[in-house]
Amino acid sequence: MPTYQITVNGVSQSVDVAADTPLLWVLRDHLDLVGTKYGCGINVCSACTVHVDGTAMRSCTMTLEQVEGKSITTIEGLSEFGEHPVQQAWKEIDVPQCGYCQAGQIMTASAFLEGNPNPTEDEIKNAMNGNICRCASYNRIYRAVEKAAENMR
C-alpha cells in the first residue's frame, strides 16, 4: 500500500492506504477525526465537507493523491475551542436538530464567508444549497450564516 504525506489541521501525517481510499475514511478511521461525516459517499450531500487550502471540498470522493502537499482543515481544526465566528453563530442561533450534517454545513459556510464577507440572500442560499440537512434546519442555517457574516465584519 502506498504511503501518503498529508497535512491535517496543521499536522503533517503519513498514512498507508490503498490509492482509492477517500480522504473521508482516512480522516475517520485512520486519523480518528470523526467530526467529518459520511452521508452519501457520491458527492451529493456535503456532509463530508472539509477545507483543502481554504476551499470547501467534499472529502468522500477525494483521494489522498489529490490532497498531497495541500493543507486540509476539518471541523476539529476550524478553531481550538469552537470560537470560530461561524461556530459561534451556529451556537447563538442553536442551529442543530440531530446535528449530524452540521459539521459539513459549518465547513461550507466558513469557507464561503472567507471569500464573500458580505453575501446577499441569494448568495447564501446558493452557497449552502449543496448541503443536505435531513432535519431541514435550513431556516436556522440561513440565519446563522447571516449572523456569522455580521460577527466577522
Binding site: 452519501c40 471541523i75 461556530q87 451556537k91 442543530p96 436538530q97 440531530c98 449530524y100 443536505i132 431556516n139
Partner: protein, 744 residues
C-alpha cells in the same frame, strides 16, 4: 378534556434517594408509570457501579452543588435531552447553567417507555419530571431546616440556595448528604406556571458545543480498541434469497479479515416471534469484516452473489392497481361509523369524491444505520443509535439465547430517526455478526444499503367522499387503502369526526413483502394533505369561505359527549383564528397565493398558511405561517426548531419524495436519484404559539402532516390545478402558473 394525562403517584414507588460513596446524593426515579417499584439500592452507592435496575432515570447532586441529570430518553434530534431535564431543574430550583445532562444507559428490565417516537416523551414525562424535581427540593429543604432547627416551611429556595428566616443560607451541596438519609416526602407543592424560571425560557441544545466542534457523539463515531467494521451484502430486491456467492476476490483485498454469512439466528427469531418477520429478511446475507469502513465497503462490492426469486416480486404498478381495487371493493375494516353515510349520499344534492395517492418513502436518516456489538461469554455489549432500546435488547436476548442481565445496551446521539430507528433490524444484524466473530464490530450501512434495505412509509391512498344537502355537509366517507398496515388508534376520530352527522372511516390493506413501518407522523403524514385538500375543494364546490367552513364544522363538535374525540374544537378554532390574523389571510396582494390548513395530531393543534409567489414563471413557496397550541412551551428555542424542521420536512416530501419498486428492486438508492428538500427550496417559517397553562405536548411530528396540504392549497390558488398525488414535482404540467401570470 382528554388531552391531560393524569397519573397517580406514590412518591415511594417512583423515587428513592441514597448517598453516594464519593459524596453527594443520588435520586433514582421512574420517569413513567408502571415501572417496577421494588427498590434495593443500599447506601452508600458508587455511581459507576450502579446498574439501572430499579430506576430509569437519575439525578445526582454533588457536594459542590452541581446537578447531573441522566436523561433516559433517546435523543434523535427532537430536543428531549434538553427539554426533559429543564422540567426537573425548574422544580428542583437550580440554575440551568449548573445542570449537566448525560444520556442514560438502558435499564433492560424495568423501564417502560424509553422510546423516542410519537411525540410522547415530553407529554408522558411532564408530571413525573415535575414531581421528581419538587420532591428532591423538599428533601434538601427539610435537611437544611433540620440543621437550623427551623420549620421547613419557613425556608425559601432560589437557584440551589436555601435561606432561613434569619437570613442564613445553605447551598444544596452542603446538605445533600443529610438529605439523602431522609424519608421521601409524600406531598410536595409544584410551582405555578407564572413562577417558572427555566420552563418557557430558551435553552440551547445541551450538546451544542460538541456538535459544532465535531466531537464523537453519534453511533458512527463510536470506537473501541480493536474494533473492526462489517459491511453486509443484502438481497438487492424484496422477495429474493441468497443462493450462492463468490468471495474469493474480497478475501484477498487489503484489510479484509473474514467473510461469513448470517441469517440462521434471524430466522430462528422469526420462528419464535413471527411478528418480527415484518422487519427482517429471511435470506442469508454475506458479511465482510475488515479493518476499516472503506475496506469493508470495497470488498463488499467485489462479492459476486447469486439470488433467486423466492416469493412474488412486486412493483409499484402492482401496488397501484391493487390499492385501486381495494378502494373500489367492499373488503373494509370499519374504524368508525356515525349515522348512515349511504343513506345521506342517496339524499344529497351534491357529491364530491376524490382520491389521493402517496408513494413509499425511505426515512433517509442523515446518519446511515449502524450499530456496535461486542459479544463474549460473559456479556453482550451493544452501542449505537436506537429509538427502542428495550425492545431490541429483548430481541437480542431471545435471538442469541442470552440472559437479559447479560445484555448491556448504550445509546449514542442519533443522526435522525423519523421512525427508522424504532426497528433495530440493524441491532440484530450487529449482534448476529458479533456472536459469530467474537470481536468488537460495528456494522455500517452504506447510503445505498440504508435506502434499499429500508422499513418504508407504506404507499397508500385515500378516497374521500362527501355529500352536501341544503348547503350543509351531511356525509363524509374516508377510505384508506394501504400496503401492509392501516391507520390505528385514535386517527379515525380526528377532525372532522364529530362534526358531520353521517361519518365513516374504512380501511383496507394489502400485505406485501416490502418492509414498511412508522415514518414521522404515521398515516397523518399523508392523511392531512388529503383531507385538507378535500376541505378546500369542498368549500369551492359549496361556494363558501374556506376558513369559515372549517370553523363552522368545528363548532358542531361536542367533544365532551364523545370520549374518542381527542382534539379540542375550542383550541382548534383559536389556532385557526390566530393563523388568519398572523398570516394576513385574505388581505395579501394579488401576487401572493395562500393555502390554509389546520390539523390535530400527536395531541397538538396546528394551523398553517403557505404563501406562494410566481418567480421566473414558476410558483415558489416563499413563507409558511404556523400557529401551534402545544400547551406550555418548555423550551421555545428547541420548539421552534422542531416546528420549522417539521414543516420543511413535510413540504420536502410532499414536493419531491418519490420512491418505488420494480420487481422488488428499489428505484433509487442514493441522494442523486432521491431528492430531498434543500436550502433554495425551503421557505421561511414564522411561528406563533398559543399561550396557555395546559400540560405540554410534543412537537417532533404535529407540524409535518399539514404542511403538504398548505402548499397544495396555495399551489391550487397559484396554478388553478388541484394536486391529488405526491410528490407534486412529478407533475410539472400541474405546476405552471395560471395563464394571466405568464402574460403579466
Amino acid at each position: 378534556m382528554a388531552t391531560n394525562t393524569k397519573m397517580a403517584f406514590s412518591r415511594r414507588a417512583f423515587m428513592r434517594t441514597t448517598s453516594l460513596a464519593g459524596g453527594g446524593m443520588l435520586i433514582g426515579f421512574n420517569l413513567f408509570q408502571a415501572c417496577k417499584p421494588q427498590v434495593k439500592i443500599e447506601p452508600p452507592v458508587d455511581l459507576s457501579n450502579l446498574d439501572y435496575k430499579d430506576f430509569n432515570a437519575f439525578i445526582k447532586i454533588a457536594e459542590n452543588g452541581v446537578v447531573t441529570i441522566f436523561s433516559p430518553n433517546p435523543e434523535i434530534g427532537q430536543g428531549v435531552k434538553t427539554s426533559m431535564p429543564m422540567i426537573i431543574a425548574e422544580e428542583l430550583d437550580v440554575a440551568w447553567k449548573n445542570v449537566h445532562v448525560v444520556q442514560g444507559k438502558l435499564d433492560t428490565e424495568n423501564f417502560t417507555r424509553q422510546v423516542a417516537g410519537g411525540s410522547q416523551s415530553l407529554r408522558q414525562g411532564w408530571d413525573a419530571l415535575r414531581q421528581t424535581g419538587a420532591t428532591a427540593k423538599q428533601m434538601l429543604v427539610n435537611a437544611a431546616a433540620a440543621r437550623w432547627g427551623v420549620e421547613a416551611s419557613q425556608c425559601t429556595v432560589s437557584e440551589g440556595v436555601i435561606t432561613n428566616p434569619n437570613g442564613e443560607t445553605l447551598g444544596y451541596g452542603e446538605v445533600v448528604t443529610e438529605a439523602a438519609q431522609l424519608e421521601v416526602p409524600e406531598n410536595v407543592t409544584l410551582k405555578k406556571p407564572k413562577d417558572y424560571k427555566i420552563i418557557g425560557k430558551d435553552a440551547q441544545n445541551v450538546d451544542i458545543d460538541e456538535i459544532i466542534t465535531g466531537k464523537p457523539l453519534f453511533g458512527l463515531d463510536y470506537k473501541t480498541e480493536g474494533m473492526v467494521y462489517a459491511a453486509v451484502v443484502r438481497p438487492p430486491a424484496f422477495g429474493q434469497k441468497l443462493t450462492s456467492f463468490d468471495a474469493s476476490e474480497a478475501k484477498s483485498m487489503p484489510g479484509v479479515l473474514e467473510v461469513l454469512t448470517i441469517g440462521d439466528k434471524a430466522r430462528k427469531l422469526i420462528e419464535a416471534q413471527p411478528n418480527i418477520a415484518n422487519i427482517l429478511s429471511t435470506s442469508d446475507k454475506v458479511v465482510v469484516v475488515a479493518k476499516t469502513t472503506w475496506q469493508a465497503f470495497k470488498a463488499k462490492e467485489s462479492i459476486e452473489a447469486a439470488w433467486e426469486d423466492d416469493v412474488k416480486m412486486e412493483s409499484t404498478e402492482d401496488h397501484d392497481k391493487v390499492m385501486n381495487e381495494l378502494l373500489d371493493g367492499q373488503e373494509f375494516n370499519t374504524m368508525r361509523e356515525d349515522g348512515n353515510v349511504e343513506k345521506a349520499f342517496a339524499e344529497a344534492d351534491q357529491i364530491l369524491e376524490r382520491t389521493y395517492e402517496a408513494p413509499f418513502l425511505p426515512h433517509n436518516c442523515m446518519e446511515p444505520m449502524n450499530f456496535y456489538a461486542h459479544i463474549t461469554d460473559e456479556k453482550v455489549h451493544l452501542v449505537g443509535p436506537i429509538q427502542t432500546p428495550a425492545w431490541k435488547a429483548g430481541a437480542v436476548s431471545a435471538m442469541l439465547d442470552r440472559k437479559p442481565e447479560e445484555i448491556e445496551l448504550e445509546m449514542t446521539r442519533q443522526g435522525g430517526g423519523f421512525g427508522r430507528r424504532l426497528y433495530g433490524d440493524f441491532v440484530l444484524e450487529a449482534a448476529e455478526i458479533a456472536d459469530k466473530i467474537r470481536k468488537p464490530v460495528k456494522v455500517v450501512y452504506t447510503r445505498e444499503d440504508d435506502m434499499n434495505d429500508g422499513i418504508y412509509r407504506m404507499a397508500l391512498k385515500y378516497r374521500i367522499k362527501a355529500g352536501i344537502k341544503d348547503g350543509k355537509v351531511t356525509a363524509y366517507h374516508l377510505k384508506e387503502a394501504a400496503v401492509n398496515s392501516n391507520m390505528y388508534g385514535l386517527i379515525p376520530n380526528f377532525f372532522p369526526a364529530g362534526a358531520i352527522e353521517n361519518y365513516k372511516v374504512d380501511a383496507a390493506v394489502y400485505k406485501s413483502n416490502i418492509t414498511t413501518g412508522a415514518w414521522r407522523a404515521p398515516y397523518t403524514n399523508f392523511l392531512a394533505f388529503a383531507e385538507q385538500s378535500f376541505f378546500d375543494e369542498l368549500a369551492e364546490l359549496m361556494d363558501v369561505d374556506k376558513v369559515q367552513m372549517r370553523i363552522d364544522l368545528l363548532k358542531k363538535v361536542d367533544a365532551e359527549a364523545d370520549e374518542r374525540i381527542q382534539y379540542s374544537p375550542e383550541r382548534m378554532i383559536k389556532v385557526i383564528e390566530t393563523a388568519v390574523e398572523k398570516s394576513g389571510w385574505g388581505t395579501k396582494p394579488s401576487n401572493v397565493y395562500q393555502g390554509f390548513v389546520n390539523y390535530y395530531c400527536h395531541n397538538t393543534h396546528v394551523a398553517e398558511v403557505a404563501d406562494v409567489e410566481i418567480e421566473n414563471g414558476q410558483p415558489v413557496i416563499k413563507k409558511v405561517t404556523c400557529v401551534v397550541d402545544c400547551g406550555i412551551v418548555v423550551n421555545p428555542l428547541g420548539a421552534l426548531n422542531q416546528i420549522e424542521g417539521g414543516i420543511l420536512d413535510g413540504i420536502g416530501h410532499a414536493m419531491y419524495g418519490d420512491f418505488g419498486f420494480e420487481n422488488g428492486k428499489p428505484l433509487a438508492s442514493n441522494y442523486d436519484r432521491y431528492r430531498l428538500i434543500r436550502m433554495k427550496e425551503a421557505p421561511m417559517v414564522e411561528t406563533h404559539f398559543i399561550e396557555n397553562e395546559i400540560a405540554p405536548t410534543g412537537l417532533g411530528e404535529p407540524t409535518l402532516p399539514p404542511a403538504g396540504g398548505a402548499v397544495a392549497n396555495a399551489l391550487k390558488a397559484a396554478t388553478g390545478n388541484r394536486l391529488y398525488k405526491q410528490p407534486f414535482a412529478k407533475f410539472p404540467e400541474l405546476l405552471k402558473p395560471k395563464k394571466q401570470e405568464i402574460i403579466g
